[in-house]
Subunit: 383 residues, 2 copies
């Protein structure tokens, strides 16, 4: 397989973009990535998106965005719920790696704030199992609350032990101009925030939003010597049962374990070589489960990393969510995986200012669709 | 790029499958393709589907189907409206060609008959431009009617000149046990059928339905000498503006021209080498436009091929829709592109009985999403 690199990145602020349509948001990120890459053309467009059919009454989003960008080549949408962004990125990698094309523009985009909140909740619920979970009336946050409640019971944690995940994300977002909630919060704010679905309170949950993030993928050979190029060292994807109740171990993210294992093997590294980890903190419980499945903590001990101050960009053993994560950068669902990748490139280029991880050479991203059903992991490296 | 082949095929009947869910339909086709291939495993699952979010309240369909099949590897959904099937197939090709995986199961699936017809019409309209076409209240058949009306005006045809397209598809479907409408029709039935959106009448339009079709894709080297293997010789995809009114030449399928050109170049053939052509006759006007864009007729003269009896499997210069096409095999939208590919394999294996094209060595398929916005062409060959 030929070696691949990211040469351009672009992103919009995660925000309530009431003045921009979904195609305009995507185009903003694409044009920024093109400008950043110094290249004028690309061979194919891969779009990661989950909800445009349900919220924007628009399918065929690949062609829609190609049209707006003025591109007539091939364009497709990839959808794996909240991991659509990383799935589109992986499709782009394989297209360039195959030699069929020489450059792939990948954009993750979502526009959620035009719809009523109840409609967004219904739309997000389509990431769960319609026949076996939704029929019971459980929402997506409800499913995560069941997992968190069981985890607390099983391993003896208290709710406030999850606070460091939320505090770290918010503290980091304060330095990210593209973040949805760019401010720090206090432990008291975490504890006292409104309950959504016990034990998940508002500070355990990521906010939705509108946004787009894009990267241009090219063969590594074509950008040798370019200091802005970042190599894609590993890529792995796996699935698990959609229904949480069908899993033998509902507190272990089997697909995260498999996806990370494949990415580590491809990259020829172990978790110990990872300098920072942009993980999928849609809910604070997911931070713990993701860290455990990828080898950074033993099962049941994920919160310990937060309590021991090991997840912060300054001096932490495994800094996570260095630009704010889903919790505070925001979670425009189909775009999130692409934000993680753009942010990882920023870290590896050394462009992260206050939240820069010192001497970061290898970064990992992990995007999750459904309650752990589709998981995609990428490992990036300074070439 | 390594050479690729199809080794297994499977399909369900296109039908009102009220007793089967979307995951069960897909699984039927996948298991049949596995059995046909003689292989027990595959490395990744690519799902082509357009409407599961809107009609079945189910996204993340890759993971849903993987779950039902008992597969834990990577699984994604690809969506490009009615060309989702062929887009998923092309993604599968690139994944195997890259060397990242060694076998890809591709399934196109759609379940449309559980929804009310008006809901299906609304859902299908999301293939058109939501902001610039749907806002005007035009439905998908309405857009095609505008194209057909202009074409008749511009090139001086009469409505009955399109009859051979419909008659050929129905005559061929009579011999296809998986067809939705497996019966021949008479010229009088064509002329007298109910008007839907003038000048498109019921016999110009393809029926929706439930169905799934699947193929297993592997490196050609792994199946050398296997007489059931069919080589994928060329693959091309292109897009055009989503809105028909934005095109300089609304009567010419520019994306079909570009996609076919790329596929011909990759295959090292011209249109004259093609023994049969499974084209996208969602409406009879699309048969004419597709034949013209791909080189089989000059612009404005597509209907001539039908009138001259050149499109039938027995003795026609370029047999089309040999298993019934969209018109009579049926059009379960996201599955259609995969039905075309499965049928092309059947022709090249010589399994088509009454509608077998004699000495068929090279077959072409073309799948269209939107009113010509996303077009994917494949060329298959007996290796």
């Amino acid at each position: 397989m030929r070696e691949i690199a990211i040469i351009g990145i672009g992103q919009t602020k995660v925000h309530e973009h009431w003045g921009l349509s979904i195609r305009e948001l995507a185009t903003d990120a694409i044009f920024t990535a093109q400008k950043d890459s110094g290249r004028k053309n690309f061979d194919a467009l891969f779009v990661g998106n989950m909800l445009s059919g349900l919220i924007d009454q628009q399918n065929n989003l690949g062609a829609v965005i190609a049209d707006w960008v003025g591109f007539k080549g091939e364009a497709v949408k990839i959808e794996t719920a909240c991991s659509s962004g990383a799935s589109a990125f992986r499709a782009g990698i394989m297209a360039v790696a195959s030699g069929e094309i020489d450059s792939a523009m990948v954009v993750g985009v979502e526009k959620m704030t035009d719809a009523a909140p109840t409609d967004v909740t219904s739309a997000l619920a389509t990431a769960a199992d319609s026949d076996w979970e939704l029929e019971q009336g459980v929402s997506f946050v409800g499913l995560n609350a069941l997992i968190m409640r069981r985890y607390i019971h099983e391993f003896g944690w208290k709710h406030e032990d999850f606070a460091p995940f939320s505090l770290n994300s918010h503290a980091n977002a304060a330095h990210n101009p593209n973040a949805r909630l760019p401010f720090a919060i206090s432990p008291k704010q975490y504890t006292n925030s409104a309950m959504i679905s016990a034990p998940i309170n508002l500070m355990d949950a990521s906010p939705t939003g509108d946004g787009a993030a894009a990267t241009l993928i090219v063969p590594l050979d074509s950008v040798r010597g370019n200091k802005r190029a970042i190599q894609i060292l590993g890529s792995g994807a796996a699935t698990d049962t959609l229904s949480v109740h069908s899993r033998k171990k509902p507190l272990f993210l089997q697909a995260a374990y498999l996806a990370a294992k494949r990415a580590y093997t491809q990259a020829g590294i172990t978790y110990e070589d990872v300098d920072f980890f942009e993980l999928h903190d849609a809910f604070s419980i997911m931070s713990a489960l993701s860290l455990e499945a990828c080898g950074f903590a033993v099962q049941g001990q994920g919160p310990r990393l937060g309590l021991d101050n090991e997840i912060t960009p300054k001096g932490g053993r495994i800094p996570i969510c260095t630009r704010g994560g889903l919790k505070a950068r925001g979670h425009p669902v189909g775009a999130t995986g692409m934000y993680q990748l753009v942010e990882a490139v920023q870290q590896l280029r050394g462009e992260c200012g206050e939240t820069q991880v010192e001497n970061a050479k290898i970064g990992m991203t992990q995007n999750i669709g459904g309650s752990g059903a589709s998981i995609i992991t990428h490992i990036l490296k300074v070439p």
